[in-house]
Amino acid sequence: MTRTGTGRWRSTFATVLLLLPSATWYALLLLVPLVILFVFSFGGRAPEGGYLPDFTFANYRELPTRSTAFINALWMATGGTILCLLVGFPLAYYLATRAGAGRTLLLVLVIVPFWTSFLIRTYAWLTILGNNGIPAWLDALGFGHVVLLNTPFAVLLGIVYNYLPLMVFPLYVSLERLDKRLLEASKDLGAGRWATFRQVTLPLCSAGLLSGVILVFIPIMGEYIIPALLGGGKVFFIGNALVDLFLQSRNWPFGSAAAIVLILVILAAVTVYLRVGSRGGQTREISLL
């Protein structure tokens, strides 16, 4: 269907109109705040806290003092993602290939816990991991006194608990699209289960894998509530450091610098993931979900 001159103009007009709402939203509520942060990051700290107009690189130079918090987050994000993968992949695989008719229900059951408040769910873990919960049983079973709460273990547990559905979902979608005939063919050609898995299943669900990893890793990097609630102040992520900088020490310029660097690091990580992931030969667009 050809388009005349006015037709093309109208078409462009229509495109602009369609794009305008989102564009305005992004501009006002994402770009402008980010610019503000950027400007603040070069500023000075007012004596009672807040922003003082200034131009200095001091804040960026100071950033290494928060490197521990950053590394903590990185560590946990990586560990949490790997755990979610190890735990979530079998479940997704099971649901996608074996569960039969009940699988939609089972899939939905994975996401239903999301509909209780995240805070309440995490608080429930406080009871389970606290003195009257699992440690009490372990004590009774003769394992002696084990401290589970306010440890990195508790935080990791909380992370896996809260982010598992985000890993399972894209994996499921990707595995579900798998053409079962390919699996059949592989089996018919005498390939064992493991070989089939490695050479057929895994490559074909790489998009889902990538999505899952990104969906889990990124939010954990910015997480601060789980370490605050389950870490008892002893586990300190870069997210907690940011909250401290803005809401306690009120060092906005420093906080802004830390925030900007965090965003850049995450952006870099995502780009690397995607490049590496699509290296596997498929040139189609990798969608995030």
């Binding site: 700290r45 004596p47 009672e48 806290g49 807040g50 003092t65 928060r66 521990t68 918090a69 406080l126 606290g130 003195n131 009257n132 401290v147 709460l149 306010n150 008892g232 102040g233 002893k234 300190f236 907690n240 450091a241 401290d244 900088l245 803005f246 809401l247 306690q248 020490s249 009120r250 060092n251």
Partner: protein, 399 residues
């Protein structure tokens, strides 16, 4: 005295030119004991008509009524501390005025200041601690008390030394708040599990690393946690000296792996016996002891903090009339006594204290002996904004 004079005195003390006693006396910090003696029931400063039975019970419309002809509006936002108000007091206020009250508990004065600085909070009434008035005053964050709107407030009944904290500028007589209560920062321990004697901050930090490792909490609050670590070494609670702060930081980092948690919400773990020792404020200590008698409250024999919290009106608040009505309501001695029956912090208004029952006034946690308070210090204004202490705290949290 102004900051320069204080600094001179402090330098003298540190350089050994004057001894601790003289320093405390001259700086007025040691006055804490004297003040408290005045505030403590049974002293001569209390009014003579003190009934032995509590003249308490719920306040009613006979005790207070809203100002006539003033539209109080429908809502009021009070930013305060956790477990600090008797819910029933709030309910009664709503019953008498029709104003819905929203309590907004925060974790620290730093957080309060941070949010106020960002702006647009919508808060009406604030409950700031004594050392914040200098900063709030200089930034114009609070409104000078309009005493015309507070007929039930009689500042002469309040201990002047405690009240003076809310003056801005110092000595001007312009008050930006009046006292709600006062208290100390000590620690609680559960004697069911804690058998070693614990009387000082030295005991607290030492035993945290040995016998009670994994069972101790400190405040998520630089003022008290750093302050008490300084006291451990015999330094002033308010020190901002770099060398002393470095030692305090070292101690805190050494203790950190042995802590159960760094939290200002220590009641749940103490109640669940996840923690056996906690850095605690008076009112929480009294509440815990009342519910669980095994939990004892201790004021460190080597020092610590004495503080006072105030009611104040946020500058530019939308619900000014309701804010003043609430403050006037809380200025009524009977209401204070009723409120205190829940939060269990000691009162400042002598009329309020007079109305409390003998049992309450005899509670050694709520109203400690003056002798225990002699080494305690009020937090100084500069601690709220001091960058060195904030950095020490941030480094400690990240460690």
């Amino acid at each position: 005295m102004d900051r320069a004079q204080f600094q001179n005195l402090y330098d003298d003390f540190r350089l050994g030119r004057i001894d601790r006693r003289t320093f405390l006396k001259a700086s007025g910090l040691g006055m804490a004991a004297a003040i408290i003696a005045a505030c403590t029931p049974g002293s001569s400063a209390a009014p003579s008509a003190a009934p032995s039975a509590a003249a308490g019970g719920e306040p009613t419309s006979a005790d207070w009524s809203p100002p006539k002809g003033v539209d109080l509006g429908k809502t009021l936002y009070i930013t305060t501390w956790p477990n600090y108000h008797n819910p029933r007091t709030i309910e009664i206020f709503t019953e008498l005025t029709g104003v819905k009250v929203e309590l907004n508990p925060l974790g620290s004065n730093e957080e309060m200041l941070a949010k106020l600085l960002i702006g647009g909070t919508g808060w009406d009434v604030l409950v700031p601690t004594n050392y914040t008035f200098e900063t709030y005053g200089s930034k114009g964050l609070l409104e000078q008390l309009d005493t015309a709107k507070l007929p039930n407030l009689d500042l002469s009944r309040y201990d002047q030394k405690l009240l003076a904290n809310s003056e801005y500028p110092k000595g001007s007589g312009h008050h930006y708040g009046f006292n709600k209560d006062w208290g100390t920062t000590g620690f609680t321990y559960n004697k069911k599990h804690v058998t070693k004697p614990m009387t000082s901050w030295k005991d607290f930090f030492d035993l945290a690393q040995t016998d009670y490792s994994g069972k101790v909490t400190i405040h998520d609050y630089q003022l008290t946690s750093i302050g008490n670590a300084l006291v451990y070494y015999g330094y002033s609670f308010n020190s901002v000296d770099a060398a002393e702060l470095a030692k305090a930081e070292e101690l805190l980092i050494k203790v950190k792996p042995h802590l159960f948690a760094i939290t200002s919400d220590y009641q749940p773990p103490m109640r669940a016996e996840d923690a056996w020792v906690a850095m605690t404020w008076t009112n929480d200590g009294a509440q815990l002891h009342a519910d669980i008698p095994d939990i004892e409250y201790v004021i460190g024999s080597d020092g610590g903090e004495i503080w006072s919290d105030f009611y104040a009106v946020v500058a530019g608040t939308e619900h000014r009339e309701a804010a003043y009505a609430f403050l006037d309501f809380m200025a009524v001695p009977k209401v204070q006594a009723f409120d205190a029956s829940f939060h269990k912090a000691p009162l400042v208004d002598s009329a309020g204290i007079a109305l409390q029952s003998d049992e309450v006034r005899g509670n050694k946690i709520t109203y400690p002996d003056a002798a225990q308070l002699s080494k305690l210090e009020f937090g100084t204004a500069e601690l709220l904004t001091n960058e060195a202490r904030a950095e020490v705290w941030a480094r400690f949290k990240s460690a």
